[in-house]
Symmetry: C2
Subunit: 395 residues, 2 copies
C-alpha cells in the first residue's frame, strides 16, 4: 500500500496509517463499521455480545455448538476472588469508577493461573477471563460503594443480563436486556482508537494482556475518548428540558465551547452506531417514563446541525456517545458508570487487538512501538549545558 | 522540519518522528542523552534524583532554596494511606510486582484530593505525589509479601536512601545510597520510549496523570522494555561463572536466540548510561563480595562484541539494562524488583511528559493520539458479509 507523505509531528497520528489489522474496518466517509467483515448494524440487530466477542477473538461467528462452548467458558469465569472483593472494600466510596476498574483489571492478573504463560492459547484464556470478570468488578464496586454486598453471578443469564443483575440484584426485563446487549456489541470494537492503541502499545513490549487492558481502561477514561458519554449526559441534565436546547446551543457556540457528542476523529457522516442507538434511546425513554432525554438529544442534534451549517458552513455529525448517554440514563445506569460500561464492552476489542499484536501470523510481525521525538528544548550554546554547582545556580 | 517519507505500517513507528518535546534528547549516533540540555552523565555524577526530578518537571535545575522547597514537598508525600496498605495486604504473595505497582498507581488516584482538577498546578502536585508514593508502594509490597510490616518513611533521608530504608528497614551505607541515587537519575527519562509513549497516549485523551502513569507501568513491564533488566540477571544466574560465558554465548548464538541487554532501538553505540553503570557494578560487586556478576557481564560484553563482528560483521552495543542487573543484584535488590525499581525512577520522566502533553504552551497543541489502520481482514465478496442465522452457520 502506498503511503502519502504527511507531516505527522504533534498531530496525534491523526489520519496516519500505522498498522494493518484484520479485526475491524471503519469507513469514515460512508459511515460503515465492520467487525471482521460484518456490519456492526447487522451484528447489533441479530446477534448477542457473546457471538460478537467470539467473532472478534476467534475470527469467526460461532455456530450453535461453538457458541454454547464459548458461553460455557465465559459463564465459568464470571466470579471474582473474595480477596479482590476485599481489596475493593478498602477503596474510598468517592473513587472514580474508571480508576477502580483500572486497578481492578491490574489486580485480576494477580489471580490468573496462566499469567506467566506467553502463548496464544493462554492469552486467549486470559482474554475470556477479562471479558467475564471486568463486568463483575464494576458491578461489585457499584454495590460496595452503596454499602451493599456484591451479588453472585447468575449462570442462567446472558452476559448482558448478568451484568445488570449483578449490579442491581434484579433480573431486568427482556427489552432492556436486548437493548443493553446491542449496546455491548456496538461499543465492542473500533479499530485503532486511543484506548485500543494504548492496549496494543503496551502489548507490543510483550507485557501480558492484563497490563495492556489496564492501560486501555486508563486511556478510555479521558474526556476526549470514552469519558465523553458521561459529559453528554451531564450536558443534558444541565439543559433540563427540550425547550431550553436552542438557548443552550447558542450560548455554547457563542462562547466557543465544544458541544459534547458531536464530531469524530474518523467519521465524516453520522456515526453508524448512533443511528442504531437513537431509536433505542427513544423507546427506552418512553418505557422509563422519561422521554425528555431522547427528545432533548434529538432536538440538540437537529439544531446543532442547522447552526453549524449556518454559522460555520460546515456539517457536523453525532457520534456514538450522543445517544448512548440518554439510553443508559433511561436504563437506570448511574451517570458515572457510563464510561466503565463502555469499557466492559470494549474489552472484547482490546483483547482481540492484544492477540493480534502478540500472535498475528502475518509478516511483517508487529514491532515494539518506539517512535522518535524532535527535541526543541534548551541547549546552552551549541553544546550541552555546563552543570553548575548548586550554590552557583541562579534563581 | 522536513519529514522523510517512510513506510510506517507494522514497524512500531521505529525511526518515525511523531512529536516535539523539550524534555530530553537522545543522540543515538553519538551516544549522548540530555535532560533539558544537561548530559545525563553530568547529572548522575554531580546531582541527586531530587534535582533531576526538579529539572524534568519544572524545566530547570533548582538552586539551593528551590531544592529545599522541592524536597520538602516530596518528603511530605512519602507516606501511603493505611487503606492502600490494606488493599496490598489482600494481594497474593506470588503477584508479579509490576502488576502490584500498576494497580497501586491506579489506586493512588482514589486518595488524591485534586483528582478532578485539570490544571497544570494540580497535575504537578499529583506528579510529586506519584514520585514520592510509588516507591512507598513498592517498598510496602516487598515487606508485605515477606510477611513483614511496612516501614514508615524516614524524613531525614534522601529519596534514594528512603526507598532502600523503607524496603529493608535499614539505612544503607553512603556509597550504596550514592550509587542508587545515580541509578535513579540514569533511568529517569528517555524521550519517547514505549512506556513514556503509553503515558502520553493516555494523557492525550485528557485522562488524569495516575491513569497515564499506570499505563506506563504496564508498558514498562514487558520483556522488550523495562522487563529486560530482570532477564539480564536471570541470564547471569544461568551462566553462573565467568569461565562459562563463552560457551553460553556460543550456544545462544548458534540457537539464534537474543542475548539480553545487547542492542537498542535508538543507540548505535554503547548506551551512555551503561558506561556509567559498569564501574558502579564493578565497585558494588567488590563491596558485596560478589565480583563475579560484574566479571561475567564484562566478559560477555567483550566476547559478544567480538562474536557479532566475526559471525555477522556487525557491531553490537550494551544497553542500560546490561550493567544495572549486576549492580542491583549486588545491592541486594530482589531480581523481580529490578523492573519496578526502574519504574520508580522513570516516573519522573513519565510525569514530566504528561505535563508536557497536557499543558505545553507550544503550538500546535498536542492532539489525541488516534492513528489509522489498514484493514486486511475478510469481506465476503466486494461487500460486507451477509449475517447468517446461527443455525445455518458452518463449523
Amino acid at each position: 500500500m502506498e503511503e502519502e507523505c504527511k507531516p505527522i509531528i504533534n498531530t496525534g497520528l491523526r489520519g496516519v496509517t500505522i498498522a494493518s489489522t484484520k479485526i475491524s474496518d471503519v469507513n469514515g466517509q460512508l459511515g460503515k463499521l465492520v467487525y471482521r467483515g460484518y456490519l456492526v448494524k447487522d451484528l447489533a440487530e441479530n446477534t448477542t455480545f457473546e457471538e460478537a466477542a467470539h467473532l472478534l477473538l476467534k475470527e469467526k461467528l460461532p455456530n450453535a455448538s461453538q457458541l454454547a462452548g464459548f458461553k460455557e467458558k465465559l459463564v465459568a469465569e464470571r466470579d471474582i476472588p473474595a480477596s479482590l472483593v476485599a481489596a475493593l472494600k478498602t477503596r474510598p466510596n468517592e473513587s472514580l469508577p474508571m480508576d477502580i476498574l483500572q486497578a481492578g483489571t491490574a489486580m485480576l492478573a494477580n489471580h490468573d493461573p496462566e499469567i506467566n504463560v506467553q502463548t496464544r492459547e493462554a492469552t486467549e484464556n486470559m482474554a475470556l477471563r477479562l471479558i467475564s470478570k471486568t463486568p463483575a468488578i464494576l458491578a461489585a464496586w457499584e454495590r460496595i460503594r452503596n454499602g451493599k454486598d456484591p451479588v453472585p453471578p447468575n449462570k442462567e443469564l446472558s452476559h448482558a443480563a448478568n451484568f445488570l443483575y449483578m449490579m442491581t440484584g434484579e433480573i431486568p426485563n427482556d427489552e432492556i436486556i436486548r437493548f443493553f446487549d446491542a449496546c455491548l456489541i456496538l461499543h465492542a470494537e473500533h479499530s485503532f482508537n486511543a484506548s485500543t492503541f494504548a492496549a496494543r502499545e503496551v502489548a507490543s513490549t510483550r507485557a501480558h494482556i492484563y497490563a495492556a487492558v489496564a492501560a486501555a481502561v486508563g486511556s478510555l477514561s479521558g474526556e476526549l475518548h470514552g469519558g465523553a458519554n458521561t459529559r453528554v449526559m451531564n450536558m443534558l441534565l444541565e439543559i433540563g428540558s427540550p425547550d431550553r436546547v436552542e438557548q443552550y446551543l447558542n450560548d455554547e457556540l457563542e462562547a466557543g465551547r465544544k458541544i459534547m457528542g458531536l464530531g469524530h476523529a474518523v467519521y465524516k457522516v453520522d456515526d453508524p452506531r448512533a443511528l442504531i442507538l437513537a431509536p433505542m434511546s427513544k423507546r427506552m425513554g418512553e418505557m422509563a417514563g422519561q422521554p425528555q432525554w431522547y427528545e432533548m438529544s434529538r432536538e440538540l442534534e437537529l439544531k446543532a446541525k442547522e447552526a453549524f451549517k449556518t454559522r460555520k458552513n460546515m456539517d457536523i455529525f453525532v457520534n456514538v456517545d450522543f445517544y448512548s448517554a440518554s439510553l443508559y440514563y433511561s436504563m437506570g445506569i448511574p451517570v458515572d458508570l457510563f464510561t466503565p460500561v463502555f469499557a466492559i464492552s470494549r474489552v472484547a476489542g482490546w483483547t482481540a487487538h492484544v492477540l493480534e499484536e502478540q500472535f498475528a501470523e502475518a509478516a511483517p510481525k508487529p514491532m515494539l512501538y518506539r517512535p522518535e521525538s524532535d527535541y526543541i528544548g534548551d541547549y546552552c550554546g551549541p553544546e550541552e549545558c555546563v552543570l553548575e554547582p548548586i550554590y552557583e545556580r541562579k534563581p
